[in-house]
């Protein structure tokens, strides 16, 4: 920072930013705190921030009622699987668009993005019938495929904006050295593109993890991810705020932690094409 800043100003900035940050984070914090309360305290008309009897009973109850490890494993498999599969298809496509553009490139890209605007309910019955036909209902592979398709346009678009920033001269130099298309991608582009691919991957894992339409409709038990786990704790009979909070905490914690650790890469990938 070249500009001079007084300590006062810095303190004011800090205070304002921290209070706003805490305000925005508060719903999550409150959920986590509530998960350690008893049900009676959770709905108390005089809520307390920290001064309550901390208890683990909600977590025990949630664990006793459902097989968390299986939901968790399914979420990981589906999120990571669909992302990896998507990358396999998207990297060549984005590569071609970025380095061998034609008049139609822009149109195709925009058409791809527009496929994301369809409301999924509109095609629910057809997809359901197709899945039944192929025996894909409640299978991880089916869900991996669907989520891959759902996120593919975003993956391609992000990779495209990223690849476009790689200077074309490097490719030409490689071609001069006799590299064919395959080795161009493998040895020249990939190393330069790794940061972009990494951030694309992160975003996709997060989006797939949080996807709550197809995962609920197409799974029952064997392939059910954490969204299904949450659904079984939403508004049951009786008091449920604390148990719901515990289940919520368990469902969002993995991706929250992943996101926090990787936020720098994530943002860089998202903004590469935009911020220049």
């Amino acid at each position: 920072m070249a500009r001079q800043v007084t300590l006062n100003r810095r303190l004011i900035n800090t205070a304002v930013a921290w209070s706003l940050g805490l305000l925005i984070f508060f719903p999550i914090l409150w959920t986590i705190l509530t998960s350690f309360k008893t049900e009676a305290e959770a709905i108390s008309l005089q809520p307390s921030l920290f001064g309550f009897d901390w208890t683990l009973e909600n977590y025990q109850e949630v664990n006793a009622r459902s097989n968390y490890p299986r939901f968790f494993a399914n979420s990981v498999i589906i999120a990571v699987g669909s992302t990896l599969l998507g990358l396999c298809i998207a990297v060549p496509a984005a590569w071609a668009m970025a380095f061998v553009p034609s008049n139609r490139t822009r149109g195709i890209l925009m058409w791809m993005l527009s496929t994301k605007m369809l409301p999924p309910v509109g095609v629910l019955i057809p997809i359901y019938l197709i899945f039944r036909e192929f025996g894909l209902l409640d299978s991880r592979i089916g869900l991996v495929f669907v989520l891959m398709m759902v996120n593919l346009p975003i993956i391609i678009w992000m990779l495209f904006t990223y690849f476009r920033e790689i200077p074309g001269e490097i490719l030409e130099a490689a071609r001069m050295d006799g590299a064919n298309m395959k080795s161009e991608i493998l040895y020249v582009l990939t190393p330069m593109a790794v940061p972009g691919i990494a951030s694309t991957m992160l975003l996709c894992v997060i989006l797939a993890w949080n996807e709550a339409f197809w995962t609920l409709v197409l799974t029952t038990t064997q392939a059910a991810p954490l969204t299904q786990f949450i659904a079984s704790f939403s508004s049951p009979e009786g008091l449920f705020y604390a148990k719901l909070s515990a289940a919520s905490t368990m469902a969002i914690a993995p991706v929250l932690i992943l996101g926090w650790f990787s936020q720098k890469q994530l943002v860089r990938g998202l903004t590469f094409g935009a911020v220049k």
Binding site: L118, P119, G122, P126, L129, I206, S248, I252, A274, V275
Partner: protein
């Protein structure tokens, strides 16, 4: 090289879409098998003359527009704030980005039950502490409440992208402007805003894609009500296909939604094309 992706997306789009299109001309209710028959454009007529349709269309636009306004303006302000020197910037940033990682269903459940509930919610408690009457958020302000919840989820995204854009701003340019005697206000509008335009375009594009099909938040919080006050197009299609199990009308609604989405897409593409020089 593009072809696998294009073929897959084509299949993904065209196979279900063709089936949807076909169903949309059928009289087809899941609960009454064996009664399927060609029905002309009756399904479209039924869907488009539904009194809820225009309301849902308006709500969809309000929802997208409202969230975009809040996130772009709020995101810009927050980005400006976070760009200032301060203590613990890294941690503050973590606090700001957190909502983006929360599952939409979870955030809707938490907001509905633990914050907006007019008897046991935290907002009601705060209102009572200050001697006010608790507001029945989801009953009286259903759409604004949903906009608030969705904006909360997307604000971090906008903030971070705009912040990154801001950080890439040439500080010499600002200093030069400062020397020319430009005040903070005109510096902001003549240098910062144009610089952010491109990032804002990305924010608007990506968010619109997701906001047009907002569904889980509505299902969990208000179920589209009271009345149709918070029903958007995806929710209306859902009500036809999964409450009424009328696949014919649901499919017609799906096709209408696709057409509307494409209209929005064309506008967006125009805008994006200009700003992203694709």
């Amino acid at each position: 090289m593009m072809s696998p992706a294009v073929i897959l997306l084509l299949l993904w789009m065209i196979v279900p879409l063709a089936m949807t299109l076909y169903f949309s001309f059928l009289r087809y209710n899941l609960l009454m098998p064996g009664t399927e028959a060609f029905d002309g454009i009756q399904n479209y007529r039924y869907f488009l003359t539904d009194p809820a349709f225009l309301e849902a269309l308006g709500n969809t636009l309000m929802l997208v527009g409202g969230v975009l306004c809040i996130t772009v303006i709020g995101g810009t302000l927050l980005a400006l704030l976070l760009d200032q020197p301060m203590f613990g910037q890294g941690i503050v940033r973590l606090l700001f980005i957190a909502p983006f990682f929360v599952m939409p269903t979870v955030s809707a459940l938490v907001w509905k039950n633990m914050f907006m509930n007019p008897t046991n919610g935290l907002f009601a408690f705060v209102a009572k502490v200050f001697g006010g009457t608790p507001i029945d958020w989801l009953g009286h302000y259903p759409l604004p409440s949903i906009i608030l919840i969705v904006a909360w989820q997307w604000l971090p995204f906008a903030t971070l992208i705009l912040l990154t854009a801001l950080q890439s701003l040439d500080s010499e340019q600002i200093e030069a402007a400062e020397m020319d005697g430009a005040n903070a206000f005109s510096r902001f509008f003549h240098i910062v805003v144009p610089h952010l335009a491109r990032a804002a375009t990305v924010v608007i594009l990506i968010q619109t894609i997701f906001l047009l099909s907002i569904f889980a938040e509505i299902l969990v919080t208000t179920n589209g009500g009271p009345g149709n006050a918070s029903t958007n197009i995806p929710f209306l299609v859902y009500a036809q296909s999964l409450l009424q199990f009328d696949v014919g009308v649901g499919s017609a609604g799906g096709i209408v939604a696709v057409v509307l989405a494409n209209i929005v897409a064309i506008f967006l593409m125009r805008m994006v094309g200009k700003n992203l020089d694709l």
